[in-house]
Structures are given as C-alpha cells and as structure tokens.
Symmetry: C2
Subunit: 705 residues, 2 copies
C-alpha cells in the first residue's frame, strides 16, 4: 500500500487484515468481483462507499462538501442527509471538486482519503454500524487498483483521530438515512431494552444469540478487557482482564504451594536439537513454533525456538538435578507466556499466538504418586472454574486420540458454551508416564534405595491458561455486556450517587458524595473490592450502563431518599434484582449478597449445562442433538477409528460452518469420571452408539472450540 | 563436532562454549598453540589431560585400566595414584590397549571418550578442581583435530551420568596426587575455616576476595539460585531465587496499586515499523533485538521483534485510549520478560539475554505530575533495595550521556559492589517528557478542558529487574555461601535437630523431632517462614553447611540439653553469633531477631558503601581512588566531553582488565540528590575536578557493571 497510508495506519497501531493490488476498478460490483477473483481477499468482507456531496451555497461562500462513509448496502438518501444536516440540495460532487479536495477520482476515494488538513474543511457523516460490526471492510488505498482490508473499529479509530473540538464526526442515524442495512439495525436498540431511566444506551451492538462471535469481541472491547494489537493473533490484556488473571494466580499459587510445588522461571528459548528430542511431542507442536534466526544484524548459527510449552526446556535439567530418591518428588511450576503461531482464525483468549498460562512439571518415584497428583491438580482446576469463575465443568479422561502429544494419559475438565452449543477444553492435567524420562529420551532416573536398580521417574505436566477468562465471558455475558462472578471481579461493588438534581443544596450533595465514599471505605475494610463512582459530568444512567457493561456484580445507589432512610438500593448485575440494604448492616449483607450472586451464577450455568447434555444410544439422534446446540454422551467403544468416523459423519451432515468455530465434526470431549450419571454400561451387552461394537464407558462428544 | 559426541552432550543439556576444527596435534603444547593461533578459541581456557594407566595384573586376570582426568598442570604421580587405589605398578597404557578400550590414540582421548559401556570396565579418577573451576576447558572431540570447550561443571555432569551403583568416580585427592595445581587448592579448605564440629565441608570453592567472578557463579550454583542453560546467556531461575522475586513482586505490587497503577499484559512481539518509530530510542536497543522470521516452516512476510522494552509496544495504544483529560493519568505496569541479545560476556542476573522485570508506563497531563511520580517510584525502588534486600543505594539523576535513550531525564539508584569496587545501576525511573507523545511520534494528546488546545501528555517509564537479586548476592554473600536478608528469604528460619546419638532412647529422639516440627509450626503461625529439617541420613553438620550455603538467616538448634532447658540455640547466618532463646518467648524473640539481622545487614553494607566514596577535588587522586576499589565523587561541570574524557583517562591508567567486568574507565553513576553530604559547590569558584571548568554539582563516578 502507499507509504503515506501505511504511515498513517502505523501511527494508530492499525494493522490491515490484508492488502491487495489488482486491476483498476470503476464500480463497486467490478471491485468486489476483482477482489474475490484475486483469491487473496479475506473469506468474507464488505465494501464501503465513500460519497462526496456538495450542498447548494451562495457563489461567494466557501464550499463545504459532505463526506458520507457507509456500508455499500446502506441506502444513503441525499435529501434526508441534507435535511438532517440543515444543508440545501445535496448533490454528488463533480470530479473537479474531488480533485480539488482530495486529488483523487471517485473510484479511489476511501475513509483514508480524509486527512488532518481536509477533515476540518468538510462535514463527515459515518454509518455507525461500521464501527460496531465484526466484518472486515474493503477500502481503497488512495487508488482504484489497491485495496486494504480493515476492521470497522479501526476505520472508526482512524476517523476519530481526525476530530478537533470544532469538527466532529456525525452519525448517519435513522434521521439521516432512509433505510439502514439489516446488519446496522442492532446499533439502535429497541426502546424496551433501555431498562434504566435516564440511561445513555451503550449497546454491545449485536445480540449474543444473533451474532455470537461479534458479540464476544464487542463485549471484550467495550468492557475494556482487551484491545487488538498490530501483530495479528496477539491481544493486549488490559487491567480489567489481567486483574481476573491475578485473582486466579493468587488462589492457585496458595493451593499448589500447599502441595509442595515451587515456582521458578525457565528461559523462553529452546534450541532446535533439544526441542526435537521427543518425536511425538514435537510433531504436535512444530507447525506452530516461532523461530528466532537473527539478533541485531547478526544471523544466529542455529535458529532458536520460542517455547510452545516447556517439557523439553525443563527436562534436561530434571535429569541433572534428580540424583537420588531424596530429590523426589520434584514439583516446579512457572507462570509465563508461550507462543504457538496458529494460522487458523485467532480469537481473544481462546486461540492466540502468545498466551499466558501456568505450567507445572513434576517428577515422582512411583506411578501411584504421579496418578494421585494428576487428580489433585485437576481438582484445583475444577475449583478455579467452578468456585472462582462460576463456570461448570465436567472432569474426565481424554481419548487416546485427544491426549497430550507424547504423554501417557490426559485428564481434563470440559466446559460448555451454551450459545454456540460447543464444548471447550478448559484445562488439562497430564500424566506423562515414563515417556520423557526413559534413557533414549531425557534419561531421568534415580537409584532405587533398596536394590540399586535404576528407576525412571514418573512425570506429570499440567496447565491452565487465560482461556479461562474467555470461557467465563462467553458463559456469563449478556446483551448488556460482561457479567463478572464476584470472586474474580477487580471491582465487586460500585457505589453510585443518584438523584443529585439542581434542587439539592450543596450540603445535601456533599452528604451524598460523602456517604458513597464512606460506604466504599467500609466495604473495603471487610475485604470487599468496592469503589465509589464520583466522576463529574456523567449522569447516573451513563454510570449504570458503564459498570453494567464492565460486569461489576453489584451496584449500590445512594440518593437523598436513601440517605433519609439510611439505606441503599442494591442492584445485582447477574439478574437485575433490586433490593434495599440498611446502611447499618452493610458489612454483613453485602458480602452475603456477593456470595449469593456467585452461587446463583454457578447454579444457573450448571442447570443449563446439565440440560444440554443429551444421552444418545441411537445414532440417528446424534447429529440432530448437536444441531440443537447440545453435546451428547454415548456408550462408546473407545476405538480411534470409531472416533474418526464420528467426526466425519457428524461434520458432513450438519449446519453451515462458522469460520471462527472451526470444528463442525464432533470430537470426543472426555470420558467423564462420574459414570454413575447414566445407566450402567453392561459389558458385552451395551453397544457403542456410533459403531455397534461393545461399549466401554459413557463418553462426551461435541462440536468444540 | 562428531554427531555421537553432540548427541551425548545434548542428552545432558550441555552446550559447548565453542567448537573448533584445526590441524592435527600430537602434544599438549602444540595443541594449545594451535587453538590460540586459530583465533576462534575462548579468550582464556585450560587444557585437560586424559591419561590411561595399566596396573600390573596376573596374566589371566582381566585388565582394569585407570583413567585419570586432570588439569594439564596438575602433577599426576602414578605411584601415588596406584598406592591410593591399591593397585600395583601403574604404567601408561600402550597404544594397543587404548585402541582396544576406546578405539582412539592418546592424542584424541578426552573425558568424552568414556561411555556407558567402557565406564564400568575402568577405574576413573578425576581432579576435583575441574568441577569447581570457573575456567573453560579444552577437550578433544574423539579426534586430535577437533576440540570442544566445556565448563568444568559440564565435564563433571557428563562423568557423573556414567556412574552406576557398582562403579563410581574417584577423586584425585591430596592422597592421590603429589602436588595439585595452585587453582585447585581452595577446594580443600584450611582446617581453621571448618568451624562447625562434625561438618561436611561444602566449600564455595574459591574465596570471594580472591576470584570474585568465580565465587559469584559458584555461590549461585551451590545455593541453587540458578542453573546454566543450553542457550547461552540464558539462566534458569530456580525456586530459591524466584522466591525472592516473588517477595519483591508482592511488596512492589501493593505499593504501586496504592498509587493507582494497574497491572496489564502487552504482547511480547512488536513489528519492525512500530519498533523503529523513535530513532534515539531504537538506536539504543537495535543491536540487541532478537527477530522472529519464521513460524513452523513458513517464512514471515515481515520479521517481528521480541520486545527489548515496551515503549513502542504500548504507546500506539496510549494514543488510542487517551481521548480526554478524564483518561489521565493512565498508569499501567507489567511483569514480564524482555530480550536483549547481548554479545558481551553474560553474567547471571546482571547481564542476561532474557530477563524478568516490571516495566511501568504512565501518562500525565502536566510535567509536574510526571515529575512527582518519577520520584515516588524511585523511592519505592530505594525501599526494595534498602528495606527488603538490605542493599544501600544512592538516589540521583543520570548525566545526559547516561540517560535513557529517547527520554527527557533519568533518575536512578546506584548500588556498590565492595569486592570489585564497582558501581552498579540498581533501578531507573525515567521521565520521557513529551518525546514519545509529540505528533510526529506517537501523537498522544488530550484537549485542554479550558481552551481546547491540544496538550501532549507527559510520560514516565520505570523498571526494576531481577538484577536486584544479583546485587544482593554480591553485597551480602561470603565464603560460606549466600547470606539472605530475612525479609526476602524463602526460608527465614531452619530448625535442626542435634545431638541425636545412639545413646538416646526412641522417645528422646521423637521428642527432639517433635519439638523441631512444633517450633516451625509455631513460627509459621506468627508469620515467620520456618522449616524443620528432619531429613534422615544427614548429619547436623551437613545440614548446617547446607543451609548456610543457601543463606538462611537464622538456624535454631534443638538437642537433648536444649529440650531439658526448654531453650533453643539461635545461630545467625550474617555474623555467626549464637545465643539461646527460651522456647516460651519464641514468638516474640525470633521475629525481633530477624528484624535485627535485617537492620544489621543493612547497616554494615551502608557503612562499607559510605567508607568507599572518596571525595576528590584534585585529579591526581582520581584513578588511585578507583584502583583502591572506591568510587569517587567530584564537583563536576556536567559536560559530555568532560565525561568522555574522564572515561578515557581513567581507563587508560589502570588495573588489568577483567573480561567479566567490562568497563575499566569510570562512568558517571549519578548526580546524587543529597548534595548536602559534601561541601557546598560555590558557583563560579568551585572547579570541575576533571577539566577545571566551573563545577555544577557533586557527581559520582566509578568503574561499573
């Protein structure tokens, strides 16, 4: 793309999804065809039109053109626009005018044609559905033969940056446009959704049930959990999400330290020869390994990998450090980031090229000890999800096909996303057996204290990543935004002053503010993370929406009447329930209410999960159950060929594929430990639902992330 | 090197310092000359000799050759060796024997010629000074024309790994060798140093005052703070050091949160175009930037850098997020690792290619606000060093030459390493001014609420790294090992059972053990990190030394007499002082004693630092003061040319250079805030010690890390 454009985008940390050079185009239709024909455009994209209108003005007056930026399919009625802007007789501008203002013809115009110098000389009207859309938009790069693809958010960022106090962007609203494109509709929420009197509507933009992927990214952006980053597949964890991670870290750290695990830090680099030691293991990771080949201007002699996981980083040292049974068990953990350069469509928290996690690596004298620990850790993971994040999970064992590359067996907790009807692997605790310790591998052994024979150690590795945060958002969030479980919320309670009208005296205003601050202070003293929102210049309604969008579990309102009654109105984020709390009993009632919110959130999610697990003993119900957004549990033979077959048969049948939910075929999720939930499997009698061979155990299958 | 050797070393995670192919050699002298002449050998290295002896045996008996591995200069007396091993008439083995056992001639032999299959058929005797040495050793790679360079530790690892219960390595001790090389001498510590009755001497190997760099790495290895890693310049932070970092994190986190700083996480990757935005800034870092150019087998279109620091990663988003004065101040921090691919000699904690730190980045409306915060943070850094690590520092401002690349001014706390007489930059808090916010850079501005003009934000960045741990080790460690200040020690108190002789009844033994456990439990209840060392099979002396080496601040001894007296003997690690503590007053006396140890450690280090700052007003005393391991403070003109000149003049003059302490010329360390320590500078009258121009302020100069 043109250097000038590249420079502008870089200044805003905007990275195009793609850039294309192609044949010159003259109309939107040929443009779109050309892009698709090139084979290099994103799988789906929309066009943006940039129209320049000239209002009728006195001959001596300066012409102020109107720039309209809209989705191609949005109808732009010049009469309605002119009326809304109070400008007469808008007409599409002549080529001369375009040349004069932008030095471009109409087929090369794009939002990027606006610059700091031209912006203040025109009126700019933008279709608001662009910014709220998850679509990728094609725009010209100052020529009709070069196209770049940008997100709506980035286009908005670019334009917003041009604003000055005197010249602001205008919205192409219902007043301005005759008919908005269907996709633009949710931007203006129906009246009945605006529950709160006086509220400024800060919509998530699209409904969770209608466009789940867009809802998800919008919630994350609007709740200030993440921001997109110039390097594709990487995201910024803003304090609002990182704080959740800190809560998880703090709880998990104290639990594993009780088990004798110690924290440490191993380097992020690993040499090729060490990385490639375990063949099965590296096969699982090598397509995604990022390689450093240069430092400064010096090419490295041997390329060095960035760890995708640390088994091969750590185990050579386990071999060195473990000399006798006295050195066992060795239990180390680290909190770090790992890199897996996925080429699939990335999604914040769920699939990212760099992500944060903890990885525990332990070595034991006996298999039994290792087995016990695998389950202890899995139980801690279950508690992170269920007790902290209020997200129900099902613990079980992975099938041979789905187990950790190079390990002996993998235990897992499996979550469920009701909106998409897909399972999601929440965290895994692996027993590696002696696969990494055997002599031809890392050769980690001790001498048996009795007979002096070599005992190769039994190893486990286990990991929990920031994916947990994404699952929590998907499970609990609603159309008002994020819903945070109290135990992990950075702010658990927000105190908002209300009813501060012009009738109040200064003393009355001060009394309300002071009470808000006082409540927050009292709550903090009893360990509640509370904050008073005393921001000036925002209405209570704006604040309500702001904190709702950010998912704060409980809002306390304080107005003149509350003060008189010595009470505060408590509003729950999870279900909107309102109830007064006497100020005198604040220190007991608020913590109790937070606990109730926490357990209610879990109970609701659990009921939903339970209701969406369908036991299937006849194959004909299998795919329909999936298509109705369930996961299924079947008596299963546990054979890999059967698993492949299930994937194939359930993928072929079904619903249209969503590119961001890549697996349309069902995978085995886990063999649940709790088999007693379903009718007993009768050996030799109960048959596998999929292939009719003898079934071994009930196994969960589902489409998954 | 030969694939076989490469494989063996890789299996042990051993990375040679260098590998050389050269002309065939036949004697140690020609070998050494050839290596030096090649120009590719390490700057200093030692040779190892591998000698094979054959004892006289009955003709029918199996020959068991003796393999002696020693430093070239160690005298190996075959008579003494034979006597020690109880073998008759050792003779150097014939070529035939060498061929038979090793398929090699004597000029190709090396420690690596031993394999699992040959090791059990020979007797192997090793010079113990190899493992304890910091030298790099040249050894053959199964041919007389190929040499690899390994550390002594790695050679030991290799040999240890060959041991079996039946066949152990033997030490070439004073009994075996007539005269050991001088460097080997400290391995056997003089009798008077063995203070503790019954102690197993675990020496640090070399004295702190004699060979400081070797002492430093030995302490770190023996105290289990770090291990060396296969990727050069990277180190493993073992729990014993990582725990100190966790203490620092926990304290610093709570302090910055009080200041309104929030934690977050930004990606480790940064694109070339963004990284290179600020020219001065990138000039300071670009020679050390590591570049990812490949993912899996796919070459990336544009190389992506690993952050050397995050200014350019974060500030494009500051531009995006900061829209109005309500968004200020923005205060973010992250705990992460950064990569600076230094080509100089690495040193654990002090100069490593990847290191852990925190980096804070804040944006403010006014310069004054930024100035205030710069000093608040510097004060926290001072407290991390002085209050937690008991390491005195001097706060001040960096000269223009030494300030942060691209910033406005840099404040610093400067530490001092008495043993080397060098200054060390401990932590820095930078005011970046508006250098990164101005329009042609990251364009970070808000509109002034009053006159709507653009105000470019004032920014700070500040960082503290794991270097702090290295400084603490250097300042407090002694010839027994590490000395940890109580506030950061993972284990503050160890309780060791003593006097458990064969005369005691089982009940008496149990009473001692139980009391030890009970003391640890009682101490933990009052917040003391205590541990009872009830390991079986180790003498009290061994345990004493073990914990002393690891630097545990306080040891409590419990024996039969202590039990009777209901008292415990408390032994301080910092000064060896012993005093009984009544068990009844444990909960008050131990915490008080730990505080005393903490403040005594600080006071001693402070007195030393103070005594080694020499005020110099006459240039002729400048270099002699440095040569006597001091730093100097001079009235200084603050001109860069003068600073360059001081470096040049003080470097030329002085002591022989140590490769691991690269700066022989003095740099300015800081202009201390506390100018009142020295006689007032009289404007126009007091002259610069170095150049004679008008002096501005007292400034610290020193050789430094």
């Amino acid at each position: 793309m043109a250097a000038e454009i590249a420079h502008k985008l870089a200044a805003l940390a905007i990275a195009p999804t793609a850039t294309l050079t192609h044949a010159e185009t003259t109309s939107p239709a040929t443009w779109k065809d050309t892009l698709i024909a090139s084979g290099s455009a994103p799988a789906s994209f929309e066009l943006i039109k940039t129209l320049i209108y000239k209002p009728k003005t006195a001959k001596t007056a300066t012409t102020i053109p109107v720039v309209v930026i809209a989705r191609e399919e949005t109808e732009t009625n010049s009469g309605a626009i002119g009326k809304a802007l109070n400008l007469k007789e808008l007409r599409l501008a002549s080529d001369d005018l375009l040349k004069e203002f932008f030095a471009l013809d109409k087929n090369s115009l794009s939002p990027l044609s606006l610059t700091e110098s031209t912006f203040s000389k025109v009126v700019t009207v933008v279709d608001p559905s662009i910014a709220s859309s998850s679509a990728v938009f094609a725009i010209h790069a100052n020529s009709s033969s070069e196209t770049i693809f940008l997100s709506g958010k980035d286009i908005e960022s670019y334009l917003k940056k041009l604003e000055t106090p005197e010249t602001k962007l205008q919205e192409l609203g219902t007043a301005v446009t005759a008919t908005a494109a269907p996709a633009a509709a949710p931007a203006a929420a129906p009246k009945e959704d605006a529950k709160i009197e006086g509220a400024v509507q800060i919509a998530i933009g699209v409904k969770k049930e209608v466009d789940f992927p867009t809802w998800y990214t919008n919630v994350l952006l609007k709740a200030e959990m993440i921001d997109y980053y110039t390097v594709s597949g990487c995201y910024i964890l803003k304090p609002w999400s990182y704080g959740i991670w800190e809560e998880i870290q703090s709880w998990f750290n104290s639990e594993i330290k009780e088990l004798g695990v110690q924290n440490s830090y191993f380097p992020m680099f690993v040499s090729a020869s060490v990385l490639e030691r375990e063949k099965d293991h590296i096969e699982g990771f090598s397509p995604e390994v990022a390689w450093v080949t240069r430092a400064g201007t010096t090419d490295l002699e041997e390329a060095i990998a960035i760890r995708p996981t640390s088994e091969t980083v750590m185990y050579p040292y386990y071999a060195k450090w473990i000399r006798s049974h006295r050195d066992l068990p060795l239990k180390l953990n680290q909190w770090n980031s790992v890199v897996r350069w996925e080429f699939k469509n990335p999604q914040p928290f769920l699939r990212t090229r760099e992500f944060l996690w903890q990885e525990g690596h332990t070595a034991h004298l006996t298999k039994n000890e290792a087995d016990v620990e695998v389950r202890q850790i899995l139980e801690l993971y279950r508690r992170v999800y269920e007790d902290l994040l209020a997200v129900p999970v099902i613990p079980g064992v992975k099938s041979e096909k789905e187990k950790f590359a190079g390990g002996l067996y993998t235990t897992t907790i499996e979550g469920f996303i009701p909106t998409s009807g897909r399972g999601i692997q929440a965290a895994t605790s692996h027993c590696l057996g002696q696969n990494f310790s055997r002599p031809e591998m890392f050769n980690i052994f001790v001498e048996d204290p009795n007979d002096h024979s070599k005992s190769y150690v039994w190893q486990n590795s286990w990991g929990l990543s920031t994916r947990a945060i994404g699952v929590m958002v998907m499970v609990h969030g609603d159309n008002q935004g994020l819903v945070l479980p109290p135990r992990v919320a950075t702010v658990q309670v927000v105190v908002v002053p209300c009813g501060v009208t012009s009738k109040l005296t200064d003393e009355q205003r001060a009394a309300i503010s002071d009470t808000c601050e006082d409540l927050a202070k009292r709550l903090k003293k009893v360990g509640v993370r509370a904050r008073a929102d005393l921001r000036e210049g925002y209405t209570p309604g704006y604040k309500f929406n702001d904190w709702e969008q950010k998912g704060v579990p409980l809002r306390l309102e304080i107005g003149p009447i509350d003060l008189k009654k010595q009470s505060t109105l408590a509003v729950r984020r999870d279900n909107g329930a309102k109830a007064p709390i006497a100020l005198a009993s604040l220190e007991t009632d608020v913590p109790a209410l937070l606990e109730t919110i926490q357990s209610d959130m879990y109970a609701r999610a659990k009921a939903t999960y339970d209701s969406r697990i369908v036991a299937v003993t006849d194959w004909k119900h299998f795919v329909p159950a999936l298509d109705s957004k369930n996961i299924v549990v079947i008596p299963w033979c546990e054979e890999e060929a059967c698993e492949d077959d299930i994937k194939e048969r359930s993928g072929r049948a079904s619903e249209p594929q969503d590119e961001r939910a890549p697996s349309a075929g069902a995978k085995s999720l886990c063999i649940p430990f709790d088999q007693a939930r379903w009718a007993p499997i009768e050996p030799g009698k109960t048959k596998c639902t999929a292939c009719g061979k003898d079934a071994k155990q009930w196994t969960l299958f589902g489409r998954s992330y």
